[in-house]
């Protein structure tokens, strides 16, 4: 089974790199959706020998939200607010990719130093989680559009979720659902806000929101 877990984790890492390197918003959204689906699948595959109802429910809920609902909301926001399709990065794509690789190296290094209980086959989980968190933060910092910042939060949440998976046994369902709900509300509210901001100001550049500070 370890092959499939490894393969899923690798795909998660690749979706992160894809988000960093993609120049179109739709590609970014799609990559985040794929990441959500992969992460939904991961706990099922990792605990195939000890499947519980709770696990299945959690997986189904998070897959539904992250792979279907959020992307749909975001895609709608893009359409409705007629946001330009380019990502408009502060940091260029190749540089972002390079940064991504450095993050991966750092996450790998940190992950080896964090003592994690659990099976050997999950050894990649912690570095991947850290990496996903880093990428989420990077997206929030290094991209101009408010929408990409929402995407960044989503990726960040995915990272936290992955981190939780390494401790799947100990994590109460409620915590996870609570986080999910937070993000859900977040995305929902931001979707609405984005729509309104774009109606008022004809653009959605987060760096120009600072003009609103008074």
């Amino acid at each position: 089974m370890s092959f499939w877990v490894d393969a899923l984790i690798v795909l998660v890492v690749l979706t992160n790199l894809r988000v960093l390197g993609a120049s179109r918003l739709s590609a970014c959204i799609r990559a985040v959706a794929v990441q959500g689906a992969l992460l939904g699948l991961l706990p099922v595959l990792a605990h195939l020998d000890a499947l519980t109802g709770r696990l299945l429910l959690q997986a189904a809920a998070s897959t539904l939200l992250k792979a279907v609902v959020f992307p749909w909301l975001l895609a709608r926001a893009v359409r409705e607010a007629s946001i330009q399709l380019e990502v408009e990065p502060f940091v260029g794509y190749t540089a972002s990719l390079t940064a991504g690789l450095l993050f991966w190296g750092g996450a790998f290094w940190l992950g080896q130093r964090l003592p994690v209980p659990g099976a050997e086959e999950l050894r990649l989980l912690v570095p991947t989680a850290l990496f996903t968190i880093f990428v989420g933060l990077f997206l929030i910092v290094a991209r101009r559009k408010a929408l990409t910042q929402v995407l960044g939060y989503l990726v960040l949440e995915n990272g936290i979720y992955t981190f939780g998976m390494a401790f799947a046994e100990k994590q109460p369902l409620l915590v996870e659902l609570g986080i999910l709900l937070d993000v859900f509300m977040g995305v929902f509210v931001m979707g609405i806000t984005l729509y309104h901001i774009s109606r008022e100001f004809d653009h959605l550049d987060a760096d120009r929101l600072s003009e609103l500070r008074d």
């Binding site: 092959f3 490894d6 393969a7 690798v10 190749t94 390079t98 190296g105 790998f108």
Partner: protein
């Protein structure tokens, strides 16, 4: 002895792969296409011609095709093909392999600059740019394989591979390395999405434009060298993805050849369905090849 066998097979069959690529593309486009052996006919035709040299050129221009063909041929002696071992195998031969390809590239680019044509200079400049980004990807992907196998020769890297190893725990790392190598393969062979071998606009060509001034036997050497390079980098790829191993050398050779033919078909399909990338995007794609190789390197673990 079987190492010599692979060399002969490569020298004999390499142009066939280009024929297969073109045939696949023709089928996709709904044409009958040129015969599979057309590359051979082209080579023979070119070998029978005389030569015309530009007055600007010097001996470097004449040496270009010869050196690049000879270095590609020398690089082939280091490559295993599935179960067929390489003629020469020693720790670090993968560095020599990359070095020999670099030597060929150096002289191809020098020959292009020797013509004094702006177009060929542009081609050489782009070739240099591609190779800067492809080189780390190639060597890091091979390093990932070295980490997996604990070996340092190309023959050793590919020795323990089989279809089961692909699906074993270390499999994803191998697949990532293969993905990096696939991008390097396409870039180094000037294939879509990096370069279009069929384009007829000098401004958009990379490899072809560097051969604009060559003719006759020199052009034949260049085309043959390109076929050998296709074969050489192709074996690196099929060695991972189609690690077929049979008992006898002749079956091994057959399996290896089939793998390469499949690769040629795949290249034909890719060229039919994907458009050439915008030039500025090329560095992104090659950087991601390096990223894939680094990822493979981090995930690779020693095979039991």
């Amino acid at each position: 002895m079987s190492g010599l066998f692979h060399l002969l097979l490569a020298l004999l069959c390499a142009p066939l792969l280009l024929g297969v690529v073109n045939r696949t593309k023709a089928l996709f486009a709904g044409r009958a296409g040129a015969p599979l052996l057309q590359p051979y006919f082209d080579l023979l035709k070119l070998l029978q011609k005389g030569a015309v040299y530009s007055r600007t050129t010097s001996w470097v221009f004449r040496a270009g095709p010869l050196v690049s063909l000879a270095s590609t041929a020398a690089a082939l002696t280091l490559l295993p093909l599935g179960g067929l071992p390489a003629l020469l195998a020693f720790p670090g031969d993968l560095v020599l392999f990359a070095g020999l390809l670099g030597l060929g590239r150096f002289f191809t680019m020098a020959a292009a600059l020797d013509t004094g044509s702006a177009f060929e200079g542009m081609g050489a400049s782009r070739e240099a740019w591609y190779s800067v980004l492809a080189e780390p990807a190639l060597l890091l992907a091979l390093a990932a394989m070295a980490k997996r196998s604990g070996q340092l020769s190309l023959s050793g890297l590919y020795a323990g591979l089989s279809l089961e190893t692909l699906l074993a725990p270390g499999g994803p790392a191998l697949l990532l390395a293969a993905a990096a190598l696939a991008l390097v393969f396409l870039a180094e062979n000037s294939r879509i999405p990096f370069d279009d071998p069929n384009t007829h606009l000098e401004l958009t060509m990379v490899h072809e434009v560097m051969a604009l001034d060559h003719g006759g036997p020199d052009l034949a050497f260049i085309q043959y060298g390109a076929a050998l390079k296709f074969w050489a980098l192709g074996t690196l790829l099929t060695g991972i993805l189609l690690p077929l191993r049979e008992a006898s050398p002749s079956l091994d050779a057959l399996a290896g050849l089939c793998g390469l033919l499949l690769l040629a078909v795949a290249v034909g399909v890719v060229e039919s369905v994907i458009a050439r990338l915008r030039l500025t995007k090329v560095s992104d794609l090659l950087a991601s090849a390096t990223a894939l190789a680094v990822l493979a390197l981090m995930l690779a673990r020693r095979a039991p």
